[in-house]
Symmetry: C2
Subunit: 381 residues, 2 copies
């Protein structure tokens, strides 16, 4: 199989390194904004070289971002080339269109590395869904935020200090918004739900709360309940609708999630017959991610010529029936909040059981009003 | 695909139940020592009905035990039928022969359910080995012993009481030897190592210590070190040899393994590129095990027509270079033990770093002399 690697950054170099010694998969092109010397592949800056070369079976997109990745992937699929990508933002944004394009052209669209990095999560989810109705996908899907939260627990350091360490270690971007605001987790839980439930989730309909506003007093409050704070993506198939959200969660210190340290990930599905199954490993990093991209290449070389989904109906998203208690620290108030937050705890409140929808609405309202608001679900997993 | 289910006990009924509503896989026969009424399949007591029926593609063996399962599986493979089994004892005992038979006849020999029950461990191990050198497989592979150890920690109850509860709940057999003496874990770690390292391990060469002799004072000693006791199967590929053993282990309470409760399993590999990956779920039980058997059926129906391994060289097994500290409680002594166990701890000793080989030899010597001896490795995972 002849492969072209689009993008020669962290992951692209890793894919090149792992593929180079293999005899079954040949890297024919490397596309980058500059030319590279000393490669065994043709170095090009022009995507047309690749899309017009009929000997290229498969395009590996590891540029990231929406554009020009979207144009390159669409063009490759239309030209009958398999596409493998690690681009969660792109695939979760153009899910229906790209899936249809792959299936119409009889080519593969694989993106196992887009969720869980080195963890073979999406392929296992696809495999499970062949045999069992999946009712839940959830987990720690973002290594950067897990690193920060774990460091806050371990070192009793404050958020900005832990974020800075994560940046110094290369775990967090200079602009960390996607990680700490839950956007990265959002893309990943949407892709997981799409595959698990054979559906298409509109990202804009998902309630998302991140960890940007967490303080060391929140971690102390969490530990006071013998709990550990984790940023979770969660989706339930409720038959008539999907409940899906991203939020910091105080999990029991006995939960498996509580044992996930540094920048590691743990992702879980629950399905009929088999119960809960969890998958643990490095959710990011050059070689773990590149490894998973190469595993996708091997699958495609072995004959996998499809997208993960075939039949898709978009789902109604409803978080008004999913209820649990929350820890909330805020200087905002309204009648609703006053009615559900009678119990003071540390610097915040423990609420009654309220819906995810109502609590996220309150939080968004508080933040829009320029107030402080940190919320965390209190749940048994 | 037409399937015959051999054995209609716990797992066999589960496989029948899950396959019945499917249109892609048809259960044509059910073999049992008695005939069953009301099945959509032909109920037979004669294996010849199945092996002589050319329309049967695939035989699912869930009888358990060595005989007649061995004869049935060999005969099916020789007749060009795919074989799917959950029989860890059988496959680990006749590994080389059955693998060769499958490959010679161009049929599948799949046994994902033999290790990890509902966990898709062996297929993921096979998938990982395509792309990365695996250097370690290890984990909690036996639900019964994990249930007992977890209950001893949680309820502060003694071994026999926890074993009885496990039996009452159906987690442990009336004769629990295979579980509590580490034999079940032995078969599973051998199969895992065979696939991970492309080799054939002779079970008789593996050092095995179980939990039969553990007492509540040992659990208390373990907790005094802020550790949790788990029965682990462990195998390392050391290039020139394989180090492989089964033993109770005091793991740090921060380790992922420490969070595995009741009868659940957690199995891990470590490989180049991707680091440690762990897989968690139900390691036994009717529907989890049957689910995995059905997943194997779907793979075979989809064209997987091989055993897990192709090339195999048997490995030299050597545990004399694998060293760590041990907790030992014994009333036996000899010069070697006196020289390495100068530190008293609770009712036992903390040894210096000694080899797995030497410690298991000492333990076996003590038990053969009719003395008490419980050993547990003290390791960071």
């Amino acid at each position: 199989m002849n492969v072209a690697i689009l993008g020669f950054g962290t992951v692209g170099v890793g894919v090149y390194d792992i593929l180079s010694p293999r005899s079954d998969i040949n890297v024919k092109y490397v596309l980058d904004i500059v030319k590279h010397e000393g490669l065994t592949a043709v170095s090009t800056t022009d995507f047309n070289d690749i899309v017009n070369d009929e000997s290229v079976d498969t395009v590996v997109e590891v540029i990231g971002g929406l554009h020009p990745a979207y144009e390159f992937i669409s063009s490759a699929l239309k030209s009958g080339k398999n596409v493998i990508t690690a681009n969660k933002m792109l695939v979760s944004s153009y899910y229906e269109e790209l899936t249809a394009l792959a299936n119409a052209n009889g080519v593969a669209l694989r993106y196992t590395a887009a969720v869980g990095g080195g963890i073979p999560w999406l392929v296992n989810l696809e495999r499970a869904a062949r045999c069992a109705k999946i009712c839940e996908v959830s987990g720690i899907m973002n290594g950067t935020s897990n690193y920060i939260l774990d460091a806050m627990h371990t070192d009793k350091a404050d958020f900005s200090e832990c974020l800075k360490t994560a940046q110094d270690l290369g775990y967090a971007e200079r602009d960390p918004s996607a990680d700490i605001d839950g956007i990265d987790t959002l893309c990943k839980v949407v892709l997981s739900a799409n595959i698990a439930f054979s559906t298409v989730i509109n990202k804009d309909d998902v309630d998302v709360a991140g960890i940007r506003y967490i303080k060391d007093c929140d971690i102390a409050a969490c530990e006071g309940m013998n709990r550990v704070c984790k940023l979770l993506g969660v989706a339930y198939d409720r038959k008539d609708y999907v409940s899906i959200f991203v939020e910091p969660t105080f999990v029991s210190e006995k939960a498996l999630e509580a044992s996930i340290h540094t920048n590691l990930n743990l992702i879980t599905f629950e399905a009929e017959h088999v119960g809960r199954e969890s998958f643990y490993g490095f959710g990011a990093g050059r070689y773990p991610t590149a490894y998973t991209v190469v595993e996708d290449c091997i699958d495609v070389a072995g004959g996998v010529k499809k997208a993960y989904n075939n039949v898709m109906n978009s789902s109604v998203i409803k978080n008004s029936d999913t209820v649990h208690k929350y820890y909330v620290r805020t200087d905002y108030n309204n009648d609703w909040f006053a009615s559900i937050s009678k119990e003071n705890y540390a610097n915040g409140f423990i609420t009654e059981e309220v819906s995810v929808k109502d609590m996220h609405s309150f939080c968004n309202e508080a933040l829009a009003a320029g107030k402080e608001c940190f919320i965390a679900g209190i749940r048994e997993l």
